[in-house]
Amino acid sequence: MLQHGNDAGQPAPAPSPAGASRRRFLTAMAGTGAAVAAPALLTGCGTARAKGGNLQFWNFYGPQRSPDPAINAQSKWFTDMVGKWNATHARQIDLVYLPQPTYLNGFKLPSAFATGEGPDIFMLSPGDFLRYYNGGVLEDLTPYMEKAAVDDFGSALDSRKVGDKVYALPMEVEPLAMFYSQQLWEKAGLSEADIPTTWDQMLDIGDKLGSRTTAGLVFETNPGYYQNFTWYPWMWQGGGDVLDERGDVAFDSKATRQALALWQDAVRHGIAPRTVPAAGDVIGGFKGGNVGMWQQGIWNVSSFKAFAPDYPYGVFRLPTPPGGDYVTALGGWSFCANAQGRDPEAAAEFCVWALGSMEDESVDRMVDWCVGAKSDVAPRATALERGAAKGGYDSEVMRKFKDEIFPGGRAEPRYPPVVYKAISDAIQGTMLAGRGVGSEIERATRSIEAYTKSYKGASLI
């Protein structure tokens, strides 16, 4: 301990905003005399800055090997990309693979950042954007990008921008739609003409398709950012929102109530299950005959192709409520650079080189990802064109995604944890605990209002 005390006495490296507040923290700590050992330990924060070595790129795709050929192709896309960079640049990059659940629900990334051990380059979802931006760890990518490239991304960058500055580059756009089993459809005596366009029709058909071992209609049931993401379209369709365009809380609305009631009724009447079939295994659930309809994302198209190429399934746009307009939610991950990492400039340069330059190589890389390794809508107009020209959207399902489902899309919002949690609790409480829609909305509204009042940081919308 003593030895570490000595370390703490040495002059601090270049001061930063975080460093300053850390010193305040330490002064306060010394004042309270709470812990003798604490100063030495806490000054260690941010040591990654001083560290040399290769840039660390944390992701949940590769390098790994999987039973799913699609996942192997995705892993290869990552290793090829980094291999190419390393062959042509002095600053080397190490690809660090984290299993997806660890990355998504785990605490690996937050705890690494909290202790100054955060990766230099990492993948970010819209739901996490503000937390990392407000934490000051996102490097501004705008100086490294051409204006034409920013325009090429267009609205796909909206949820990754603060003001005019770009802080993350999306690699994919993933719209949600309804997947259905053509087998069960026929067995229930239904035809193409029966594809539902309204909520009531959807519930009716879900009822027809369901049995004791088959879930007629599946909504996500596990609490998390993902469930919120899949629920937003139902709220948006009726014109509802969590925050209005001025950033005021608008959660208490008819549209929100009917969206919560939709999921609640579907579960209450046994049309939708309380847990996702086959433990969330979409392909397994459909193939096993356990699912009639499932609200899912475009990424399953590549999994179907890899695992069940002959399985007959279809997709259709999310049905709408009376008087509502079609909307779906667009997800997708992006690359970003750690502003407090070893070499933020090189990390930012890499992100732009990989996904956001006007070079052919960069555009083609995105095409490879969106129509080759994975099945996604490309976030750049040029890449979408090239992908279409390559035949990536020729199949019936992909064509529907590109031409019918994607155009009515709205990007996943970037609400911070407290707002996410309030909405999540409302969805869970009404859907699975049978609580009143009104009281849950009231509770969520209260907690979002309390948060937005004291919130300091970039715009929530």
Partner: protein, 320 residues
Amino acid sequence: MSSVAAKERRAAAATAEAPVSTRGPGLSRRHREWLAAALFLAPDVLGLLVFVAVPMVLSIALSFFQVSGFGSYEWIGLGNYERMMNDPLFWDSMKITGLYVVILVPVLFCVSLGLGLLVKQKLPGMGVYRTALFLPYVISLVVVGVLWKFLLDEQTGAVNRAMRAAGLDGESWLGSPSLALGCVIAVMVWVMMGYYMIIFLSGLQEIPKEYYEAAKLDGAGPWTQFRSITWPLLRPTSFFVLMMSTVAAITGGLDLIFVLTNGGPANGTSLAIFYIYQQAFGFGEYGYASAMGSFLVLIMVAVSAVIFKFTRGGRFDDGE
């Protein structure tokens, strides 16, 4: 670490070998005993200090700060504790924890005691039964979580398939808050019962059989024998099991919740420990999580102090 240990060993050996001639006036012998004790205790005390006590103090210190999750700290005094007092989700999680402990501990106690009594019998193949009943304990909670998620699946799980075969409707085991909490408790009992069964078994086997023989001569039936001999003489074991299982119930099971229910549905299995974990590692609220964690530790200290007092300082000298 090992070189330190070796040094101590040498030092301890040196003090141990010097002795007899200098035994003299008692005082030095006492001091020698002190020194030996210090050396014997040094590695563990140092380790516990560095890896348990210091983090705990740090965690209490953190509870007075707003932590951004990115290395910036702002002193907010009791702000986190105020927030805790007004956080309905925290109190919900405390209620669920209370319910969980109040159900799990007695159920586990009764099941283990029952099994202990059962496997004490001399029956053909008893070794096999003991093995079978203890077996779940050796499996990690991660694997247990994966396994039960598979078995309890609503559509394809073996449990519901069996129920349907028996003409019943399946249940959504992990899909409704109260059932899910019940499942977590049941799985915990399944995992832990074998361990406490063995503890009870050893307690039971220490009761002199003459007591039972005497009781039988007096015409006492099995129930009377249990009440007047087994129960009172088993008291030290019972306290031990109660204490261990209570502490384990309040702090443990995170791996299982994480894999099996992730705190859901509708926060129905969001135990306090899980909520703290979620705030810290999910949302980066380390300061707030530290405040709640410190509060939970305080409660544990209170609960344990009560049990500790009953067990007379952890010594199980006499049951009567």
